[in-house]
């Protein structure tokens, strides 16, 4: 068994490396491939062909795969009669076209191989479990990537995946506070706004600032930060405001936090639109031209890291203290847990991730405007948290994707006036979608009072434990 795992693991890694190398080399040497197709070197004699080929290479350099493939098809179609498209060349072309899929299969095999080796080397149950989860996560990312390659970056499915991932982070960060610590905050939109603006303001290229801040002579900030730093800064600024609000409010016993944060979110929305701050916030005008993302992998990886950190927190001794506070403040305090300190910690961390989520949302939207961060945005996220289950990370994640898919995609047809033959379908018109959506949400809340997951988590143990309970019948 052990030898089998060793050889299996090593074999998988070798195959993975081969796949990765072949697909990467096909990707990296598009120019060489095009030259090989053009064996008689006619391209230099044919300006039209040269222009078409350059277009392919240019889009390839831009890392815009959709465009590259389109340009490549056009190139082959227009000038195919002058090119050698048989034999190994055809294979090479296929390798280029399927490159992303081949390399993602490579990554997946690599992960499985590494996980196998990890389990033989350590042999601990915890390592085996971690390896399984790691493979699962890699599989998820590979799926996202493949879906994106097949469906296209701007397809509805991929749009839902992007927005769903960002909302997953926003919901989990809210759940950390409302669901896990039992503190009720209604300021999510305000902290997202701070994150979105911080990110946007610091990543607009200097040369674009003149146009973006056209009413404020290019604005005050005259530099551009790297994306990752700007995202972290977005979280930090949101966290700083949370700390300040928490100082007075979290010392009070009851639910002043909800009122204070709701008020804060409204005030901050007005402040960011205030003309006097225009050189920094661009007043009530849009912020645009900041760095955004193309692929859904970016939000998936960023959100994945954040949620992983939150899960690690929840299962740490601090997370246990948060849950103790939620369950019984008096008992938690009697067990030596410093209430203001831990409440502030939970609040600040939750708002840090709300800020990061705001930054990601800005990237997704490509523009930011303070007036969009209304309280209804907070309620939307609160609804996702409730639907998914207070105190369940996986519930929040699942509910986010379902919520975004339903509201942005599956129910779209309800907004379109539809005529079948001569029959005009009643009720279908702009706005009906929201009516149906609200009814569905109400039904779900009525029938699943504790949300989809309650306070349980989706995990490998869940299936095992379910089995055990059925057999033992202890908790029945």
């Amino acid at each position: 068994m052990k030898a089998l795992k060793w050889t299996g693991g090593i074999l998988l890694i070798i195959i993975a490396v081969a796949l990765l190398v072949s697909s990467i080399s096909a990707q990296s040497d598009l120019e060489g491939l095009l030259k090989r197709l053009d064996a008689q070197n006619v391209v230099d004699l044919n300006p039209k062909m040269l222009a078409d080929r350059d277009r392919v290479l240019e889009s390839h350099l831009d890392n815009d795969r959709d465009r590259t493939l389109r340009n490549l098809d056009r190139y082959l179609e227009r000038h195919g009669d002058l090119l050698l498209l048989e034999g190994t060349h055809a294979l090479e072309l296929t390798a280029f076209r399927s490159g992303p899929i081949v390399s993602s299969v490579g990554v997946l095999l690599m992960a499985i191989g590494a996980a196998l080796l990890a389990t033989v080397i350590s042999g601990k149950a915890a390592v085996r479990k971690a390896a399984l989860y790691a493979v699962g996560i890699v599989l998820l990312y590979v799926c996202v990537y493949v879906v994106e390659q097949i469906a296209g970056t701007s397809s509805m499915l991929v749009t839902v995946l992007k927005k769903g991932a960002i909302y997953a982070l926003l919901a989990v960060s809210m759940n950390l506070l409302n669901g896990f610590t039992g503190l009720f905050s209604l300021g999510q939109a305000g902290f997202m706004l701070i994150g979105a603006y911080t990110y946007a303001m610091f990543t607009i290229p200097v040369e674009s600032r003149g146009q973006v801040y056209q009413y404020y002579a290019g604005g005050l900030i005259q530099f551009q930060m790297p994306v990752i730093l700007a995202i972290i800064l977005a979280g930090l600024v949101a966290a700083f405001f949370a700390y300040l609000i928490g100082l007075p409010v979290l010392r009070l016993k009851s639910d002043y936090l909800a009122i204070a944060t709701l008020g804060f979110a409204e005030i901050i929305r007005a402040v960011f639109q205030y003309d006097g701050l225009g050189p920094i916030t661009n007043g009530s005008n849009l912020l645009r031209r900041f760095t955004t993302f193309n692929s859904a992998l970016f939000p998936f990886i960023a959100v994945g890291i954040c949620i992983l950190l939150i899960i690690l927190l929840i299962n740490s001794t601090y997370g246990r203290a948060f849950k103790a506070i939620r369950d019984d403040e008096v008992a938690a305090e009697a067990m030596g847990i410093n209430l203001p300190q831990h409440k502030s910690m939970a609040f600040v961390i939750s708002c840090f991730f709300a800020g990061v989520g705001g930054a990601l949302l800005a990237m997704y939207q490509t523009t930011v405007q303070a007036s969009a961060f209304k309280a209804s945005m907070t309620y939307e996220i609160l609804l996702i948290v409730v639907l998914g289950g207070m105190g369940s990370v996986s519930g929040s994640v699942i509910a986010s994707f379902l919520f975004i898919a339903a509201s942005e995609w599956w129910l779209r047809f309800l907004d379109a006036e539809t005529v079948i033959g001569t029959f005009e379908v009643p009720l279908l018109r702009s706005g009906f979608r929201m009516v149906v959506f609200s009814v569905i949400v109400m039904l779900v809340v009525l029938f699943y009072q504790k949300g989809i997951m309650g306070d349980r988590e989706l995990s490998l143990d869940m299936f095992k434990r379910n089995g055990k309970e059925k057999r033992g019948g202890r908790n029945a």
Binding site: L309, L312, L313, S316, T317, Y318, R320, A321, K323, A324, R326, D327, D328, V330, A331, A332, E333, A334, M335, G336, I337, N338, L339, M345, G391, D455, R474, N475
Partner: protein, 279 residues
């Protein structure tokens, strides 16, 4: 003579016009098991709450190991409303929050059981080891504290073993029968490493067998953990059995104190309890 482990000086707690604890002075020495008894509503739990920082007393002091940890005197509106004695005796004001008092080494259980209801039996005890952590947020999240985490878990498991709940460790705390929930509360309190343990009616809701076991168990705990125990209990057999000394209060006021047999025969105590069912 060494300092008392716990000393109350003229402790008074007034809620509006009700004086729940009235000029209560008492002391407990190291290793003693001392009981506080009295009819319903006598102010026993309120006295506990003053010691553990849940309430700041209206007047008086609490000393722990000879050091003043809680101190107050009537001030502001209360200065006019105050119905108790020794109004001008104390000048110091100290009202640490309950978590600070727990960290000093005073742990407690609750009369109306207060377990962390969504957590397992094991996690209930584990949470109470949090106060002695050396990890900070970052080391805890990044799992750089695995040795500490391991020792926390071992300690929680060890305590569950001692109170006899090791088998139930993965069950939800609130799914346990009453008697076991009380034992779990004791395990949880012990996890904070106390030197003084306050038990508020630990036998309430227990059947006679469990109550018998409990008296032995409390004595065993005292010996094993080198504890001093301060106990509120209505169950007279248990109190008489294990207490070194007893304080009796009625309407917040101390009416008798001394060895169990002295207190039992005290006429004032008998009057206070007349018509009150002992069990």
């Amino acid at each position: 003579m060494p300092d008392h482990v716990l000393e109350l000086k003229n402790l008074t707690m007034q809620f509006g016009g009700v004086v729940a604890v009235n000029d209560l002075s008492m002391n407990i020495d190291k290793g003693e098991i001392v009981a506080l008894i009295g009819p319903n509503g006598a102010g026993k739990t309120t006295a506990f709450n003053c010691v553990t920082g849940v309430y700041a007393p209206t007047n008086g002091q609490v000393l722990f190991g000879g050091k003043v940890i809680v101190s107050n005197h009537p001030s502001g509106k209360m200065a006019k409303m105050y119905l108790g004695a020794d109004k001008d005796k104390f000048h110091q004001v100290a009202a640490p929050s309950p978590d600070k008092i727990t960290r000093m080494g005073i742990a407690r259980t609750f009369q109306n059981i207060r377990l962390f209801k969504t957590q397992t039996v094991f996690d209930n005890v584990l949470i109470a080891t949090h106060l002695h952590r050396t990890s900070n947020l970052f080391t805890a999240v990044l799992r750089l504290n695995s040795s500490e985490e391991k020792s926390m878990r071992e300690k929680a498991m060890h305590l569950l073993d001692i109170v006899g709940l090791a088998d139930a460790k993965d069950e939800k705390a609130t799914s346990l029968p009453y008697g076991k929930q009380r034992r779990l509360e004791i395990a949880r309190a012990l996890a904070t490493d106390p030197t003084l343990l306050l038990l508020d009616e630990p036998a309430a809701g227990m059947n006679p067998q469990e109550t018998d076991d409990l008296s032995e168990f409390i004595v065993e705990l005292r010996n094993r953990f080198d504890l001093t125990i301060f106990l509120i209990e209505h169950h007279m057999a248990l109190v008489m059995d294990i207490s070194d000394r007893i304080y009796v209060i009625d309407f917040g006021k101390l009416i008798a104190s001394g060895l169990p047999q002295e207190v039992r025969d005290d006429p004032e105590v008998i009057t206070a309890y007349l018509g009150v069912d002992e069990d």
